[in-house]
């Protein structure tokens, strides 16, 4: 395609990188506007109840302040996500701690602090529902007694859910009744039935830049009518905020302008939440007639904004003596928090990744997202997949131990490969070679030699070393028919200087959107990378190319940019005598000649699936994702029996992500995701008490530092895909999925103890190791001998 030097597959400098290393990049808190006021949010201090009264201390001159309550909202008091259950401001009902009740603004930021403490809110408090189990118990009680509604905290009416349950999915490998019969028969006759329960905790995205926005409201001075609102801020999805503003202000979407400014990390945490803070700031701007800035401090950001969904997954498998998966049932429950927000789609991804990269003759996955009185959980890199893959990859190791097979062998006997069908019935037409990935990952990481060495050294060492693997995949792009519904649009303009500019709503927040999209355009247009411009997202200028989520930007939006570039070339060749091949000068000359005759040149491309995609949303069957990235990760750990600390001492990550567009950025994505995965497994714990996050500070919410992480070795296997530009697939979320199970598998290899819950902190290891002598299984599961045949075969290797 390219006529010059190849650009895809090389590592040109990050587009906005120079400003970043100079410290010249302006993030939202670095910006100001004339007449700017500062805003703050008054939040509930209880998890559940009703507001009785709000009193304003008369010592404060409240006329200096803008105050917004629910009643001031000109449109609907609702933040639109998938449903409309989420209030913009609580009017009377409180459903979680830190729920927004009032908004305040003042010209002086320092005046807000005293005002905050001069507002007193009295509540009728109700007992909260804080766990999946408590939420389930309330549903159970309702089944026995229709009047037992005291712990039903979410009605489910009008939102497609059921009491306390935002969403449920049921997925079968075949027709439901037949699959159920086959499952029953398989469990009846299998050599082994192996069950397990696995849990994961909430995880904070912990972008280093907290959420922040500046909003303006344009009011007609004659009529007092709101003509429009403008919000700029740190965000992933400008058009999500447009939709939210349109509802809150009852304005046409074209009157709601959103600009993304440089964003200091997001990881999903700025997917849906900017709709909340953006609406809040715009309401204050409406009230005071000035631009209003809201920047959360760290403690507010952590207490009030979304986290990764906690999960509980129960797996029951029927396995043959030779290690073949015969049948399985997987039951997933997510804690969705107080409102539905994105829980249905997070749950969808959890459901679709639950089968892992394995062949399941018969499988049923049931999944549900439960309501609790915890601040709503939301998007975080991986989006449900890390939870279900943690459970599955721990369970696969359990099967191996039960059967006396190695973790390697059990996987080899069950891997999907080219031509197989996934659990949803998707035919894998593109090359899938998990066998090779496993072989290479084990060889490149020196797995066998290290495993043997640790087995020899451990009996005489206080430091127990182990090595574990995880094999997994991650679907790129929106699920099933999602990309067709998004219907993404991209523009590529030729500017008066004859050079191109990309117009997309896809946002840069560190992952490299600007850079890779410009590489794609440069390669397709045979122009130097430095010649390509990309416009900062501004919804009055850029089309809706979909949200920047779901590992979709490189593959889906990149492909649209590539097609737009080809359209430009065709136009210039047909109408401006652009030769083939062309030089940069010839391109510019042709483009300018075209512009003198036609005034403008824009190519616009809309999403078209590369291949036919069939998806049945009711049966949950068909082609779940356009493409998958595949991976095998190897973690090495050291567990110190003096301090009960588990440390990852080496990490090897092999993945097949299609063509690697930019090796340095790609490595950065993988390494960063693995670091978050290591944090998820061993460091990051959200401690809740009565619905309050008790450790909403960087001081006591511990993410890995440079001293905590091992050397991370990254390897790519490049199998070009037809879906993305130059053969690329999605990459961003994949590395979040594998570390936690690989690490806990390694800890079991080191200690013989089968931990089943993350985060796994030293106190958890201490508890189990010291309780070991009184615990017959040496595992966190309480195994039921009636269904679990591995009790005798499990032989703990710890001599402590």
């Amino acid at each position: 395609m390219s006529q010059g030097n190849p650009i895809l597959g090389t590592s040109p400098l990050r587009k906005e990188g120079r400003a970043k290393v100079l410290g010249a990049t302006q993030y939202i808190d670095d910006l100001t506007l004339p007449g700017l006021w500062h805003g703050t949010t008054i939040r509930s201090t209880i998890a559940r109840g009703r507001i009785k009264s709000i009193t304003f201390d008369p010592q404060i001159n409240w006329s200096e302040y803008a105050i917004v309550r629910a009643a001031d909202i000109p449109g609907e008091n609702s933040i639109v996500h998938l449903t409309r259950d989420h209030p913009c401001l609580a009017a009377t009902e409180i459903n979680h701690v830190a729920e927004p009740i009032l908004l305040l603004a003042h010209p002086e930021k320092s005046a807000l602090l005293a005002a905050r403490s001069a507002i007193h809110i009295d509540y009728d408090e109700l007992p909260g529902v804080f766990t999946i189990e408590a939420s389930e118990a309330a549903v159970e009680a309702l089944h026995h007694d229709p009047n037992a509604t005291s712990n039903i905290i979410w009605s489910g009416s009008n939102s497609g859910g059921t009491p306390n349950c935002f969403k449920q999915y049921q997925m079968h490998t075949g027709e439901a009744d037949e699959t159920e019969d086959a499952l029953a028969a398989a469990f009846e006759s299998a050599d082994f039935i192996i069950t397990g329960e696995y849990t994961t905790g909430a995880q904070e995205q912990l972008y280093i830049e907290p959420n922040g926005v500046i909003a303006e409201c344009d009011i007609d001075p004659a009529t007092g009518h709101i003509r429009g609102v403008t919000v700029r801020g740190s965000m992933q999805c400008p058009y999500y905020l447009v939709h939210a503003l349109a509802l809150v202000f009852n304005l046409p979407e074209e009157n709601c302008r959103v600009l993304q400014v440089e964003t200091g990390g997001a990881f999903g945490g700025k997917e849906d939440f900017p709709s909340v803070i953006g609406s809040h700031a715009a309401l204050l701007a409406m009230k005071c007639g000035h631009p209003v800035k809201i920047i959360y401090d760290r403690s507010e950001d952590m207490a009030a904004t979304t986290k990764r969904h906690p999960s509980r997954t129960r797996i029951r498998t029927a396995v043959s003596r030779d290690g073949k998966l015969l049948a399985g049932t997987i039951d997933i429950a997510l804690d969705g928090g107080a409102y539905a927000t994105l829980s249905p789609v997070v749950l969808s991804r959890a459901t679709l990744h639950a089968p892992g990269p394995y062949k399941w003759p018969h499988l049923r996955v049931r999944a549900k997202a439960m309501a609790t009185n915890i601040p709503p959980h939301g998007a975080f890199r991986g989006f449900g997949a890390p939870q279900s893959l943690f459970a599955l990859e721990r369970h696969i190791d359990k099967i191996a131990h039960t059967l006396g097979l190695t973790p390697e062998e059990i996987r080899r006997r069950n891997f999907l490969s080219t031509g197989d069908r996934t659990a949803t019935g998707q035919l894998l037409t593109e090359p899938v070679d998990m066998q090779h990935l496993l072989t290479r990952a084990l060889a490149d990481s020196g797995y066998h030699a290290r495993r043997d060495r640790f087995a020899a050294e451990n009996p005489t060492s206080r430091i127990k070393r182990g090595i574990g693997i995880a094999a997994f995949m991650h679907g790129a792009g929106f699920t099933g028919s999602g990309e067709r519904r998004l219907n993404s649009l991209v523009h590529l303009d030729i500017l008066p200087n004859g050079l191109p500019q990309i117009l997309v709503s896809s946002t840069e927040f560190g992952q490299g959107t600007n850079t890779i999209l410009c590489q794609v355009a440069a390669e397709a247009l045979a122009l130097p990378y430095d010649d390509i411009l990309i416009h900062q997202p501004d919804t009055t200028l850029v089309p809706d190319s979909g949200p920047t989520v779901a590992s979709r930007t490189a593959m889906i939006v990149g492909k649209l940019v590539e097609r737009a570039a080809h359209q430009i070339l065709t136009t210039l060749r047909t109408h401006a005598s652009l030769p083939t091949p062309h030089t940069r000068a010839q391109f510019i000359a042709a483009a300018q000649s075209y512009l003198t005759r036609h005034n403008h040149l824009r190519a616009s491309t809309r999403y078209q699936p590369a291949t036919k995609i069939h998806w049945d949303d009711d049966l949950y069957r068909g082609d779940a994702y356009p493409a998958y990235a595949w991976a095998v990760y190897v973690a090495e750990v050291a567990v110190d029996l003096s301090t009960y600390t588990a440390t990852v001492t080496r990490f090897d990550a092999l993945q097949e992500v299609g063509r690697v567009l930019h090796p340095i950025l790609a490595r950065g994505q993988i390494e960063g995701g693995i670091a978050q995965g290591i944090g998820y497994a061993l460091y990051e714990k959200c401690v809740y008490q009565n619905g309050h996050l008790m450790n909403n500070q960087m001081t006591n919410y511990i993410m890995p530092t440079s001293a905590d992480l091992p050397t991370i070795h990254v390897y790519f296997e490049e199998t070009p895909s037809p879906h993305g530009p130059g053969g690329a697939k999605g990459i961003g979320e994949l590395p979040m999925d594998g570390p936690a199970p690989a690490i806990l598998n390694a800890i079991e290899d080191a200690t013989g103890i089968a931990f089943t819950a993350i985060p796994l902190l030293p106190e958890d290891i201490f508890e189990r190791l010291t309780a070991y002598t009184t615990h017959p299984h040496g595992g966190t599961e309480d195994l039921n001998p009636a269904t679990d045949l591995d009790t005798e075969t499990e032989s703990p290797r710890v001599s402590a």
Binding site: A24, G264, G265, E671
Partner: protein
């Protein structure tokens, strides 16, 4: 209010500020040096790290924890002072080339921490790099590209 004299990026300043005003706010609000970032406000993350010399040589400090009064008569270097001309400092160049900056919000603090590290250890070992950066949190990179940036900068400055 108190009057303090300080030199920031080779520019002398005399400012009248509340004595307990955070140095971070003084830099960002009074001097419009917004390259120094606030991310945690409690000295955990290093996004607000600067070099502060009160007479015994530059120290890497978290400016969110330093009252303005403490910077009286001090010499400060912020990210804006590292490349006063258009050319990038070798550390900035290596962060740009090796992928040491992703979202960029931790980058100013990281680059100043690197500057301080390379002043102390021109050829740092891996352990010295890890220790030298352990007060600066990065959520994007997993630190590996930052380590590589530092190795490249050390090689570059050694030449």
């Amino acid at each position: 209010m108190t009057t303090i004299h300080l030199t920031v990026n080779n520019q002398p300043h005399t400012l009248t500020v509340p004595p307990m005003k955070r140095l971070l706010d003084l830099l960002r609000e009074d001097l419009s040096l917004t390259g120094t970032k606030e991310a945690c406000g409690e000295g955990e993350c290093g996004a607000c790290a600067i070099l502060l010399d009160t007479g015994s040589g530059p120290e890497l400090v978290n400016s969110c924890l330093i009252p303005a009064l403490q910077a009286d008569n001090a010499t400060l270097t912020t990210i804006e002072g590292l490349a006063p001309d258009a050319a990038l400092h070798p550390i900035q160049q290596s962060f740009l080339q090796a992928g040491g900056a992703q979202c960029g919000i931790c980058t100013p603090g990281m680059i100043l921490a690197t500057h301080h590290l390379l002043t102390q250890h021109p050829n740092p070992t891996e352990a010295q790099i890890r220790e030298g950066l352990s007060g600066n949190l990065c959520r994007c990179t997993g630190y590996m590209r930052i380590f590589e940036s530092i190795r490249q900068a050390a090689t570059e400055t050694a030449r």
